[in-house]
Amino acid sequence: MSDTTKPVERRFKIAHREAWIGVLLAVINIAWWYGFAYSLGSKPPEEYSYILGFPAWFFWSCIAGFVVMVILVVIVVKFVLVDMSLENEEEEREEGGDPS
């Protein structure tokens, strides 16, 4: 039983991909948050423009950033994540032919 011959379970493969999506979402979140806050926000406050009553840096970074993350999470949940059983019995049925 060496490292290379052991197949990764089907459900684990999907789970691994979904975990990476979580990391990707966090990276996008951080980039968006940081980018708007410290580009628009580094001007002197007298020169700030305002959107819906909020300073533009804050609006884009914190308010729009939050909305964008919600939309991305909804997209990921609806179109990317896979519905699967988490129970033990199911697996034996699904992967009954898998020798190990």
Partner: protein, 483 residues
């Protein structure tokens, strides 16, 4: 103090009491006491899962300390608080389905059950149990103190009687209802927080004369208040960004959060929880901290940060509504305390007692011990909180960062990296805790090392320790057993 304000608070206590009784009834019918008491029989649906994650995590600091800091520091602190949006999706996605599947195979009820099976090491179990018991006990005590202060400031009771009211309220439903009661009350409390913060925000904006007026008042007082850099320009981009680790992605290492990632019923529940959780946590954090900033022109000159929210609520809202809104921080504290209490209790009962003292205990015996331990811990916290010792306060400061640095890699890499082994896990936990305490002390004396929050360097060091020791000592690939 008038009854308008008190009535909603009393109602809150009555409702959660009934949730406790209901959960206890449900528990009697379940097949395994221990899985039900400490994990709600793994049957949380999407809404409850999302709410219990948010509520466990959003503690007194988010509802009193956080807005208080925003009051002093300005929009920069709201920016910092928004790093917490990540907790809504990150933990559930990254621990994800693999954690849920593996937990079922291991029949894991606590985070330590997972670590025990994965690393097959008594030292890992005892070290984890010890750090959970010590750190979370302290964190819990700090929340009790906060809860008692809040009740005191609203009702005018003495500190000790306020503490007593808080203790009785929490203990009853946690002791009899277990995890399900905790999760259900968290949901109820989460809804209160959600509605409460929205109402208060609207109230403050109206009292302040609209957003334009509020921002021009802030601008006139101190333009730094509306920049990302804090009232004295003290918040560097690097420092604020390091909170992504402390309160954003690093939360994955907190045992009370991670255990919830193995409590859901099925993949659908997890999917729903991702959406609900992200919305709720972002909404509450944004509103709550904005309230803190907006309170400044409305009610200038508040000295004690924790009083900003109670005072502003009483100022801008009618009495009964203020009572409802103030139920939110109380709910937040209770929902954190209840989870911590149950987690510490599960570490004592499941991880230590059942593993090493009396493995063949009967279900009935386990039930007595579980409820007994939960009750004893609660009473212990009560007496410590009456006159909190210095050490307790210090341990609380270390609690979150210390636990994150200790557990993040043993959990995440234990799940995803086959070469992770017990030597790596032990090295990682010891490195994480020790370096966090050392760097925390160093930072409070000499200023932040490398300009980042104390949690960042220990998280990196514990990663290095985990990988190095796993590869150096008895390197061997690990495969999860088939179900």
């Amino acid at each position: 103090m008038n009854w308008d304000v008190l009535l909603p608070l009393v109602l809150l206590l009555v409702v959660i009491f009934f949730i406790g009784v209901w959960s206890n009834r449900k528990m009697v019918k379940s097949s395994s006491f221990i899985t039900d008491y400490f994990l709600g029989s793994r049957e949380l649906g999407g809404l409850v899962l999302a709410m219990t994650m948010v509520a466990t995590y959003g503690s007194a600091s988010s509802f009193l300390g956080g807005p208080g800091a925003a009051y002093t520091i300005g929009l920069g602190w709201v920016l910092l608080a928004m790093t917490q949006v990540a907790t809504g999706y990150f933990v559930l996605l990254v621990l994800g389905k693999k954690f849920a599947i593996v937990a079922r195979r291991y029949r894991a009820v606590t985070l330590i059950d997972f670590l025990k099976e994965r690393y097959q090491s008594k030292s890992v179990v005892l070290l984890s149990a010890l750090s959970i018991i010590i750190f979370l006990f302290a964190a819990m005590a700090a929340q009790w103190i906060g809860g008692a202060y809040l009740i005191q400031s609203i009702t005018g009771l003495t500190y000790t009687s306020a503490l007593f009211v808080f203790a009785i309220a929490v203990l009853i439903y946690v002791i009899i209802g277990g995890f399900r009661a905790v999760a259900m009350t968290d949901t109820f409390q989460g809804v209160i927080m959600f509605v409460g913060t929205l109402l208060l925000l609207i109230g403050v904006v109206i009292a302040g004369g609209g957003l334009d007026q509020i921002f021009s008042d802030l601008m006139n007082e101190n333009p730094n208040l509306i920049t990302p850099y804090g009232q004295d320009g003290q918040l560097t981009a690097l420092y604020v960004s390091s909170f992504w680790i402390l309160v954003g992605v690093g939360v994955i290492g907190l045992p009370q959060v991670a255990v919830r990632a193995m409590s859901y019923r099925d993949a659908k529940s997890m999917h729903r929880a991702l959406i609900i959780g992200t919305i709720v946590v972002g909404f509450i954090m944004l509103n709550m901290h904005l309230i803190g900033v907006f309170a400044r022109p409305v009610l200038p000159g508040i000295e004690v940060a924790d009083q900003v929210i109670p005072l502003i609520a009483l100022e801008v809202l009618p009495g009964w509504l203020a009572g409802l809104v103030l139920a939110a921080p109380l709910a937040a504290m209770m929902s954190t305390v209840d989870s911590l209490l149950l987690l510490v209790s599960s570490s004592v009962v499941k991880d230590v007692y059942l593993n090493y003292v009396k493995p063949e205990a009967s279900d009935k015996h386990i039930m007595k011990v579980s409820m007994g331990v939960t009750g004893t811990l609660g009473i212990g916290v009560f007496f410590l909180a009456i006159n909190p010792p210095e050490l307790l306060i210090m341990l609380n400061l270390f609690a979150f960062g210390g636990l994150e640095a200790a557990f993040i890699w043993p959990v995440v890499l234990g799940l995803y990296w086959k070469y992770g082994n017990k030597y790596g896990a032990l090295a990682s936990m010891i490195t994480g805790i020790v370096s966090y305490i050392v760097i925390f002390q160093y930072n409070s004396t000499y200023g932040d090392l490398l300009g980042v929050h104390a949690v960042v360097i220990p998280v990196v060091l514990s990663l290095v320790a985990f990988v190095t020791f796993s590869l150096l000592i008895k390197r061997k690939a690990y495969y999860f057993p088939r179900g």
